[in-house]
């Protein structure tokens, strides 16, 4: 039955992501619910939580944060990035990925219109997203029942539907962009970049006054207009319809373009946008520096992804520094009439380094996570190269295996350091330009201290690639990242024991913006990373390649 149509076959391919993503994301939504009861035991605690949430309004609207649904909605604000990973990957792979593999040629050789094939695939992605939304809604409802939430099943399902709709918009965008790229990777990367822009645009109206018109340019803004888990707030039917129209429009345009272009080609650009015709040549690039060694080649390969990651990470960090300054100005205005806050007002406006560091520290928790995610993508490249046979010819040259592995690792380490240094420079420049006082030593420690975390992930990834195939290696690292993040940032609210908290490297990273780096902790992370890399190198030197 599942192989009787393109729609059902595609849906069958999505069965594991539907279950994994649906239940996994559902648990991400439920996890903050567990801690609300302990956070609002007294009216004072309730007031404190509301105040705290207000100071993090840049992240998400602090609506009814003292309720189960409100707190969960507020906490998962930034996780929209995580939730939309799957639709972005699925959208970019849907047609372009199959074209890259050559499997679309076979599929289109059957007597079935190309338009129908594309529409069935698109419909399968939407169905998968709806199924994920349903699962997320059901898990959220179950969580709400367990922890005493005041929202019903219908509310939870509307919450899941809202997630499915924003996923469909981003999946449709990735599908559309993939009509203009030769490979799926750049389409996914460009969509992820746009998502970052959308998130930042959405943040504007929560930080800067009179900037709602800017946020309206972002689909994330319309997603956030619905808060299904907060019955008193409800959903915005107009916003949901708009998201649905946007998803259908983007997907429809993408399919229309696909139907008109060459399979394996891209949508023809206007003549004035096309690159000049390439002439055949037999010239050899004798002087190209990037071809001189495995390290140089790896550095050149990693340069472009590193550039985009730098743009994202440094841009995010710089924006956070600026956001703190804006936030403090806003708080200063709000509190200026209250005599009790006189001293606090004195500190607000960027003048007090420890207050600034306190606010910024909470936002900077994502920096090491992003750098570690970058390392995961690069380790994926290493294990995929071995799996796909791209290392065979390199290892057929008189290069020791150890040199090949260390060359690749050194390039990754160089890129990681470069991303961190640029991020530091951007943050310092923004802080100076905005007049925000920070402890420069601690700022450097907070940003450069992420380097060992990135390299730790790389070391573990290289070690695991000795046994695991590319997808499993990436899956393991992604799971570790999610687990560490969960343990360090949600674990304390669940009162997890200290011994569990110590399993996460974030524990050892600490809060360097406030307290500086603990040298022994960082040395410990470096040591674990080095041991993992050394074991990975030993394994790689001895293993069968490509088996």
């Amino acid at each position: 039955m599942w192989l009787s149509s393109v729609f059902l076959k595609t849906l069958r391919d999505y069965r594991i992501p539907i279950l994994g993503w649906g239940i996994g994301m559902g648990l991400v939504v439920v996890s903050p619910m567990a801690s609300v009861a302990s956070l609002v035991t007294t009216p004072e605690a309730r007031q404190q939580l509301a105040s705290l949430a207000a100071s993090f309004a840049w992240n998400a609207d602090p609506v009814a944060v003292t309720t189960i649904g409100g707190y969960a909605t507020f906490k998962i604000g930034i996780f929209i990035f995580l939730i939309t990973v799957w639709p972005i990957l699925a959208g970019s792979r849907m047609l372009r990925g199959e074209e890259e593999r050559g499997s679309l040629d076979v599929l289109l050789s059957v007597p079935r219109p190309r338009l129908r094939v594309a529409l069935e695939k698109l419909a399968a992605m939407w169905t998968a997203l709806l199924a994920m939304g349903l699962l997320i809604g059901l898990v959220a409802f179950a969580g709400g029942r367990t922890f005493g939430g005041d929202f019903g099943l219908g509310d939870a399902l509307l919450f899941g539907l809202d997630l499915a709709l924003i996923g469909a918009v981003l999946g449709g965008l990735a599908l559309l962009i993939s009509q203009f790229t030769q490979e799926r990777g750049p389409a996914a990367g460009a969509t992820a970049g746009l998502l970052l822009v959308f998130i930042i645009l959405d943040m504007f109206h929560r930080i800067a006054p009179n900037s709602e018109w800017i946020s309206r340019l972002s689909p994330i803004y319309y997603y956030n207009l619905s808060k299904g888990l907060i019955p008193s707030y409800g959903v915005n039917a107009g916003a949901m319809v708009l998201l649905a129209v946007l998803a259908i429009g983007l997907g429809g345009i993408a399919v229309w373009l696909f139907n008109r272009r060459d399979v394996g080609g891209t949508v023809p650009l206007p003549r004035w946008l096309r690159l000049p015709e390439r002439q055949a040549s037999r010239v050899l690039p004798v002087g190209d520096w990037s071809l001189r060694s495995v390290y140089a080649r790896s550095l050149r390969t990693i340069a472009m992804p590193a550039f985009w990651w730098t743009l994202g990470i440094a841009g995010f960090a710089g924006w956070m520094v600026y956001a703190v300054q804006l936030l403090e100005t806003k708080m200063s205005t709000l509190l200026s009439g209250n005599a009790g806050f006189t001293q606090l007002i004195k500190n607000i406006g960027g003048g007090d380094a420890s207050l600034n560091a306190g606010l910024l520290s909470a936002m900077f928790v994502f920096l090491p996570l992003f750098l570690m995610a970058f390392a995961v993508t690069q380790v994926n490249g290493w294990s995929a190269d071995e799996q796909d046979g791209r290392l065979d010819l390199v290892l057929a040259t008189p290069q020791p295996r150890l040199s090949v592995l260390l060359g690749r690792f050194a390039a990754l380490a160089s890129a990681t350091i470069a991303i961190s240094v640029v991020t530091l420079l951007v943050c310092a420049w923004v802080a100076v330009a905005a007049g925000l006082h920070l402890d420069w030593g601690n700022l450097a420690a907070a940003i450069l201290g992420t380097i060992p975390l990135g390299l730790l992930v790389a070391g573990i990834g290289y070690l695991a690639s000795g046994w695991l195939r590319s997808a499993a290696d990436t899956g393991l690292l992604s799971f570790l990242l999610a687990f560490w993040f969960f343990v360090s940032f949600i674990g304390p609210e669940l009162n997890l024991p200290d011994v569990t908290l110590r399993l996460s490297p974030f524990y050892y990273y600490g809060s360097p913006l406030l307290n500086g780096l603990q040298l022994t902790s960082i040395l410990g992370i470096i040591a674990v990373g080095a041991v993992a890399l050394a074991l990975g190198a030993v394994r790689f030197v001895r293993k069968d390649i490509g088996v």
Binding site: S281, R282, P285, R542
Partner: protein, 308 residues
């Protein structure tokens, strides 16, 4: 004459998948050795063991007297390698790939490299992913020959090449042999090996079943001839003809399909007695030969083991 490749009792298991078992052979320096076998017989596993991409479970493989696993870096200085399924960075141009591998090999004669590029008429400015299958193969062949290695290990090297470039490749193999270099060429096409190799080894189900001169192996080669006649012809007319092993009547006696071994002269003369409409000859694949020769003739297969 010294042995360039010495393989003794080489064994590799992949668990449930088939590997190779107790493979032994030698290739003398300056020889062109054909390594024949059907798909999945163990050719690529043997080659990957020689290239130290796999570690043997038992036995040894030596190249120029050096253990392939222990001295992998040293032996790779001597080798030019074409993998069965070449995979390279899809975003590099052909020229970048050749220069990259030239550097990894410690530098090559650029004039000779340019000569090879000209010979294969390779457009070096295209990205690897944009090349056709044949052009991808050209890039990999050039990188294998560009440093004039003492030993060429080529795993199905002409797969995807057009006939003109196959001829160019044959010439390069002859030149290598004439310069005293050794070539280890794997293939599943018997006629390809016949053209270039003096000695062949045949591997099947992970075991070496035969090593010998090309002439010896030719003796096992069977082919089919289909003759269509204007009028019905009795099958008996061909059953006793020299070289005919099996006769099958087609189209109510208007044609015959003959399974043959050896020269076709006697069959042509026998067919000439009748009005012939068409005659086609078909060379069976190596798999067909193995199926018929080794599975139907169990005792002969056993007898055939390692006659060299």
């Amino acid at each position: 004459m010294t042995a360039m490749i010495e393989v003794q009792g080489l064994t590799k298991n992949y668990g449930s998948k088939r590997g190779i078992s107790d493979v032994s052979f030698q290739v003398e320096e300056g020889h062109v050795f054909g390594f024949l076998g059907p798909n999945g017989a163990g050719k690529t596993t043997t080659i990957r063991l020689l290239m130290a991409l796999l570690k043997p479970d038992a036995g040894s493989a030596r190249i120029a007297g050096l253990d392939c696993w222990e001295k992998s870096v040293e032996i790779k200085r001597l080798i030019g390698y074409v993998p069965g399924e070449p995979a390279l960075d899809p975003n590099l141009t052909g020229g970048q790939i050749l220069e990259y591998f030239a550097h990894l090999r410690g530098g090559v004669d650029q004039a000779y490299l340019k000569q090879l590029v000209e010979r294969f008429e390779l457009d070096t400015s295209r990205k690897f992913r944009q090349y056709s299958t044949g052009n991808k193969r050209k890039v990999v062949l050039i990188q294998a020959f560009m440093h004039r290695p003492r030993l060429l290990i080529l795993d199905e090297p002409t797969s995807g090449l057009d006939p003109l470039n196959q001829q160019e490749f044959d010439r390069m193999v002859f030149e290598a042999r004439n310069e005293g270099r050794t070539v280890f060429l794997s293939s599943h096409v018997l006629s390809e090996v016949e053209k270039t190799c003096a000695t062949v080894g045949i591997i099947r189900d992970g075991s070496l079943v035969r090593i010998g001169d090309v002439a010896e192996v030719k003796a096992i080669k069977r082919y089919e001839v289909t003759i269509t006649f204007a009028n019905p012809v009795p099958a008996e007319a061909f059953k006793t003809v020299d070289g005919v092993i099996e006769v099958e009547t087609l189209n109510h006696g208007h044609g015959v399909r003959l399974t043959m071994q050896g020269p076709a002269d006697a069959v042509i003369k026998a067919a000439a007695h009748y009005p012939v409409v068409s005659l086609t000859s078909y060379e069976p694949s190596l798999e067909d030969i193995f199926l018929r020769y080794y599975e139907e003739d169990g005792p002969r297969a056993t007898e055939a083991h390692h006659v060299a």
